[in-house]
């Protein structure tokens, strides 16, 4: 005995003692819950019975006409006073009462993608009376346990996974919990009945900012416009294609409107290979500005902050406190980040996507739609993408303030208004006109390429984007 003890190091005891302590602790916990089982087990039983009861109730309701649900529907819109989409649905009695949002490792506080997802979820939870639960992921290894922990409780009407990084995890958990509804933003999972893939038509929004860039560039007599992109992944081809098409469309309109004989713009594009490297964004932008570009579109996430900086510096070097050169923002309304130097932003309304996904889940629970899963593509028509407007600033400045940024709202808005008024009014009107056109007639043709043709090619691969570049007179790279 003594020999054995000496053989083990003295500190080995500590391990053994801790193991014993943990085992005892766990045993005590289970023993405790077992020795007093009446309260615990009865509550769980009642829970399960209520669930089965509601299930049978819904069945009977389904058998009889759905008059009850329609009456509740008519009463609700008068109650809510929320501004834009007034809720047309309520939480049906058979639906769980909570809403969960799982963020990827990017997480909250990015002033764009994730914060917008929160905006949509919190609005939905208020409008529909759902309790909102937010879960952030510390590492990639958290995706699966986060989703599983939520799904297994059965308390959630919908679990929203924000970001395509979670695609694999959602696929797996959706198979394990077929009765749980999921929505994934930017991820493509088309074939599961309980997963809604929320995608955005970035090419439509990009066409609008492209048209704006094309016209403004000619207005200032520039020879080139550019775009700085992040990693070369297929999603970004959508931005590229829309943007180039829009530029050529804008030129065409400019020619018609002014009657001038214009020289086509050089279009410059650069893949920086990163979404989180402002320094790379800045160098790429400086190179494009040196080649005569006066508008640079940011399609590079946080790398884009470097674009804004480069543009501001270039303008200030010429003694201007406003563009040109200009940048174009992306995802959220980024116009306020460098007021006066960001012409407009291509908004990708993740908030709208989340809100619509919740709405769809509730409709499904109410039995108004038969199928929940599939792909929901949000474009101009659905309000999923848009070009930023002065009115949008209020919302986004509020997000920024909540994130702890100290900003002077009125001063920013004034400056942006002034910048916008420098540009002829007809240009802004033409952009709005294009938005209306694309909603109804995507067959508009520019340089022999219909917008609908681009749409049909999506998802684009490397060869197809090359082909589009060639047709629109962009260097193929």
């Amino acid at each position: 005995m003594g020999k054995v003890i000496r053989g083990l190091s003295s500190s080995a005891y500590i391990g053994i003692i801790i193991i014993v302590a943990i085992v005892v602790g766990i045993a005590a916990y289970y023993a405790g819950s077992m020795s007093a089982p009446k309260t615990v087990s009865t509550t769980t039983i009642t829970q399960t019975t209520t669930i089965t009861q509601t299930k049978t109730i819904t069945k009977t309701v389904a058998a009889t006409p759905t008059t009850t649900t329609t009456t509740t529907q008519t009463t609700t819109p008068t109650k809510t006073t929320s501004p834009s989409p007034t809720p047309t649905v309520t939480v049906p009695p058979n639906a769980p009462k909570k809403l969960a949002v799982v963020y990827d490792i990017g997480g909250r506080g990015d002033l764009s993608f994730n914060d917008m997802a929160y905006l949509g979820a919190s609005k939905a939870s208020k409008d529909f009376g759902l309790e909102l639960v937010e879960v952030q992921s510390k590492t990639e290894a958290d995706y699966l346990p986060n989703l599983r922990s939520l799904a297994r409780s059965g308390h959630y009407t919908l679990i929203v996974a924000v970001g395509f990084l979670m695609t694999d995890a959602v696929k797996q958990v959706a198979d394990e919990y077929p009765n749980q509804l999921f929505a994934i933003i930017d991820g493509y999972i088309p074939d599961k009945p309980n997963v809604l893939s929320v995608l955005f038509k970035e090419h439509e929004g990009s066409a609008l900012v492209g048209a704006l860039a094309g016209m403004v560039a000619h207005h200032y007599n520039c020879s080139a416009v550019g775009v700085v992109l992040g990693m070369e992944i297929p999603v970004l081809y959508k931005f590229e294609a829309g943007y180039y098409w829009g530029i050529r469309y804008g030129e065409q309109v400019y020619k018609q409107h002014t009657g001038e004989n214009i020289k086509p713009l050089n279009i410059l594009w650069t893949y920086t290979g990163a979404f989180n490297d402002p320094a790379k964004g800045k160098t790429a932008t400086e190179a494009q500005l040196a080649q005569g570009a006066c508008i640079v579109y940011n399609v590079a996430g946080a790398t884009g902050l470097g674009i804004f900086e480069a543009v501001e510096e270039a303008a200030k070097a010429k003694g201007r406190d406003m563009g040109p050169p200009f940048a174009i923002g992306v995802d959220s309304d980024q116009d306020w980040i460098k007021p006066g130097f960001i012409l407009a932003s291509m908004e990708k309304r993740v908030d709208v996507g989340v809100y619509k996904a919740v709405e769809r889940a509730l409709l499904y629970y109410a039995g108004k739609i038969k199928k929940f899963g599939g792909v929901m593509e949000l474009g101009l028509k659905e309000g999923g993408v848009a070009i930023s407007k002065i009115q949008d600033l209020e919302t986004f400045l509020t997000i920024a303030e909540q994130a702890g940024k100290k900003i002077n709202k009125t001063q920013i808005i004034e400056k942006i208004k002034k910048m916008r008024s420098e540009i002829p009014q007809w240009i802004w009107q033409e952009v709005d006109k294009l938005a209306d056109t694309l909603k109804t007639n995507p067959d508009v043709e520019v340089m022999g390429l219909k917008f609908s043709q681009i749409e049909k090619m999506i998802p684009l691969d490397a060869n197809e984007i090359k082909q589009i570049r060639q047709q629109l007179g962009v260097p193929t790279g």
């Binding site: 080995a12 391990g15 003692i17 193991i19 302590a21 952030q136 990639e140 695609t167 995890a169």
Partner: protein, 358 residues
């Protein structure tokens, strides 16, 4: 009198256990105050934390799945400490191990070969990365703290480069190619994240224990750690012992990297910014200190830290404590726990330094 010796040891160890319990308590109280100041209910948060780490088989499995890799990285640090080294290179060695597994995954091989080859290549790459710091220490007297920190960053960028340019997943550029299904460690309990990586970790911890206390090499390592001069006087080559400590540590962390690739659903790949590997090496230091740098102390310590991570989910879901606050709570608890271990480590270093001066 063996009996009296037993009681002396027991008393000493009980004292140490009390020390840990007090540290845990202090950590939880301070973190609780922080949560209370932030407007959250600390008691409810702690209950949720416990619930989401131990209260049913799924949560227990999650806890164990988080414990598995940090057990291995803790061995890296522990073996180093036993040899008198402060080897904090587990992080980089783990990255290299994961890269090794991805390299093997990129080869066209018959199914059953993937796993053994991944383990061999991954642990070898980890060992080489550990050896680099070891050679610098032994032959150039470069402080291992400095060299391992720098090597961690070199490994980070090497692996990140390989992820983007050499082994990207053709379908999803945010990660590398995945380990093919034939090369994956089996999931132990269906519907959980717990894979056989736990078994690999436990076996390796057992091997490390046997090596340190029942083999000549282990004796030499420990003797070097206690007093290199005395060890040399006793006919031990301390340089060799130190190099082996780095190599064994490298193998352990490399293996942890392999296990994360071959045994972590759903991606079985290195993801953008190494986000599925980040921090596992540094967590190993905590675990090792908490487990008194002893293999058998490391197991419960890893389970404790794993529970802390898995319970963090409960704090977010049940009490709405944001992740940033959860991280702060974890940090406070870990610091409180590490304090006694660090004090002891520093004290022993000073003591040894004193001997050298004399």
């Amino acid at each position: 009198m063996p009996g009296s010796r037993f009681w002396i040891v027991l008393k000493e160890e009980l004292g140490r256990l009390a020390e840990i319990l007090i540290a845990v308590l202090v950590g939880f109280v301070i973190a609780g105050i922080l949560m209370w100041l932030g407007g959250y209910d600390p008691i409810a948060a702690y209950i949720a934390m416990f619930e989401f780490s131990f209260s049913d088989p799924y949560y227990l499995a999650t806890t164990l799945s988080f414990a598995a890799p940090i057990m291995l990285t803790a061995i890296t640090f522990a073996v180093g400490v036993r040899a008198g080294l402060f080897n904090i290179g587990a992080e980089g060695q783990l990255y290299m191990g994961a890269l090794g597994a991805v390299i093997v995954a990129s080869w066209a091989l018959p199914g059953p070969l993937y796993l053994p080859l991944a383990i061999i290549v991954g642990s070898l790459m980890g060992a080489v990365w550990g050896l680099a710091a070891g050679l610098l220490k032994v032959y150039r007297e470069v402080n291992e703290v400095v060299s391992t920190i720098m090597l961690n960053w070199i490994a980070f960028w090497v692996v990140e480069y390989a992820r983007v340019y050499i082994y990207p997943n053709p379908i999803d550029a945010s990660k590398t190619i995945s380990m093919p299904p034939a090369g994956r460690l089996p999931i132990l309990i269906k519907g959980t994240e717990l894979s056989a990586s736990l078994i690999v970790s436990l076996v390796f911890v057992g091997i490390a224990f046997y090596l340190l206390w029942y083999m000549v090499l282990g004796y030499e390592i420990r003797a070097t750690g206690l007093n290199p001069s005395a060890a040399r006087y006793g006919g031990i080559n301390p340089k060799k012992a130190m190099l082996w400590a780095f190599i064994i540590g490298g193998i352990a962390s490399g293996l942890a990297g392999v296990c994360e690739i071959a045994g972590r659903p759903p991606s079985y790949a290195i993801t953008t910014g190494l986000s599925n590997l980040m921090g596992l090496g540094f967590d190993g230091i905590t675990v090792s200190l908490l487990g008194a740098n002893h293999p058998f102390g490391i197991i419960p310590a890893a389970i404790f830290i794993g529970a802390l991570y898995s319970g963090a989910r409960g704090m977010q879901i049940v009490t709405g404590v944001p992740l940033e606050m959860v991280k702060a709570v974890q940090g406070i608890i870990i610091i409180a726990l590490a304090v006694p271990g660090i004090i002891r480590l520093i004290r022993s270093k000073i003591r040894r330094g004193g001997v050298k001066v004399v």
